[in-house]
C-alpha cells in the first residue's frame, strides 16, 4: 500500500521503519533536500562540495533508513547526518579552522547598533552571507543556520548541538549580534 505524501513525511508520528523499496524515500527527498543542501552549502561554502555532500547524506540516509524508527524528527536525523558529514569533510580538507578556537568574547564586544540588514543587490546576498558566516565561529554559524529553519524547535537544535535549549537561546543572541557586526564589512 502506498502512503500519501503527508503520511510519508511524518514518520515520527507513524513511527515505523521504512524499507529499501519504500516509495516514501522519494517524498522525503523532495521534502528535505533543499534544507539539507542549504545547510551543506553554507557549512562548506562551496557549491560543488555541497552538491557532493547532499548526495552523500541522502545515500547514507537511504542505507540507514531501515534502521530509522522515528524516535526523533526525520529532519533532525537528516541534519545530524549532514552536520557530521560536513564536519568530517572540513577536517579532512583542513578548512575553516582559523576561527574554530576563537575566544567567543571577541564577538560579544559589538559596538554596532542592531540596525536592519540592508542589501542593495539581492543577487550578491548569498555571497555576502557566506563571507559573514565564514568569519564566525563554527558553533555560531551552525546555530544561525539551524534556527533559520522554522521547522526546528530550540529543543531540537539543542539536541543537534549537544546543549540545552536555554544555552541555544543565549548563544543565538550572541551569534546574531556577531553576524550583524560582520555583515556590513562584506559590502
Amino acid at each position: 500500500m502506498e502512503l500519501s505524501l503527508a503520511e510519508a513525511v511524518q514518520p515520527e508520528t507513524t513511527a515505523r521503519p521504512m524499507n529499501w523499496e519504500s516509495p516514501e524515500f522519494g517524498a522525503i527527498y523532495e521534502e528535505h533536500s533543499q534544507a539539507i543542501f542549504y545547510l551543506a552549502l553554507r557549512m562548506l561554502g562551496n557549491p560543488a562540495q555541497a552538491e557532493d555532500a547532499a548526495h552523500d547524506v541522502f545515500l547514507k540516509a537511504f542505507r540507514a533508513m531501515k534502521e530509522f524508527r522515528g524516535e526523533s524528527n526525520l529532519r533532525t536525523w537528516l541534519y545530524r547526518i549532514t552536520i557530521n558529514h560536513c564536519r568530517n569533510l572540513a577536517q579532512t580538507w583542513h578548512q575553516r579552522n582559523i576561527f574554530s578556537n576563537a575566544d567567543e568574547s571577541v564577538w560579544e564586544t559589538s559596538t554596532h547598533s542592531e540596525s536592519p540588514l540592508r542589501v542593495l543587490e539581492i543577487k550578491e546576498l548569498g555571497e555576502r552571507i557566506q563571507k559573514t558566516l565564514d568569519g564566525l565561529p563554527e558553533e555560531y554559524r551552525l546555530l544561525l543556520l539551524l534556527v533559520a529553519d522554522e521547522k526546528l524547535s530550540y529543543e531540537e537544535i539543542g539536541v543537534l548541538t549537544e546543549q540545552t535549549a536555554d544555552a541555544v537561546r543565549g548563544k543565538l543572541h550572541r551569534a546574531r549580534k556577531a553576524f550583524q557586526q560582520q555583515f556590513p564589512k562584506t559590502a
Binding site: 529499501w20 523499496e21 519504500s22 516509495p23 516514501e24 524515500f25 522519494g26 527527498y29 523532495e30 533536500s33 533543499q34 534544507a35 543542501f37 542549504y38 552549502l41 557549491p47 552538491e51 547532499a54 548526495h55 541522502f58 545515500l59 537511504f62 542505507r63 536592519p116 540588514l117 540592508r118 542589501v119 542593495l120 543587490e121 539581492i122 543577487k123 546576498l125 548569498g126 552571507i129 544561525l144 543556520l145 534556527v147 533559520a148 529553519d149 522554522e150 546574531r176 553576524f179 550583524q180 555583515f183
Partner: protein, 78 residues
C-alpha cells in the same frame, strides 16, 4: 556642439537615474538575521545533479529502488 554636449549630459543623467532605480528594485531590507537566512535558503535550489547522481548510486546498491528513478524522470519532465 553645445547642444550635443547638453544632450549627452541629459542622457548620462537618465542612465544614472535608471541604474539607481534598478538598484532600488533589487534592494531588500531584512529585519533580522533569521529572516535574511530564511530568504537566502528559499532562493537556493538543489542542483538537479544531486538526484541524478543519487539515482546512479542507488542503482549500484545491492537492492535498487524504483522511487528515485520516477522522481528523476518527473524532474526531467518538469
Amino acid at each position: 556642439m553645445k547642444q550635443n554636449s547638453k544632450l549627452r549630459h541629459q542622457e548620462e543623467q537618465q542612465a544614472t537615474q535608471q541604474q539607481h532605480s534598478e538598484q532600488k528594485t533589487d534592494a531588500k531590507e531584512f529585519s533580522s538575521v533569521d529572516e535574511m537566512l530564511r530568504h537566502d535558503a528559499s532562493q537556493t535550489a538543489v542542483p538537479p545533479n544531486v538526484a541524478d547522481k543519487l539515482n546512479r548510486s542507488i542503482a549500484s546498491e545491492p537492492q535498487p529502488a524504483s522511487w528515485l528513478k520516477r522522481l528523476v524522470n518527473n524532474l526531467k519532465v518538469k
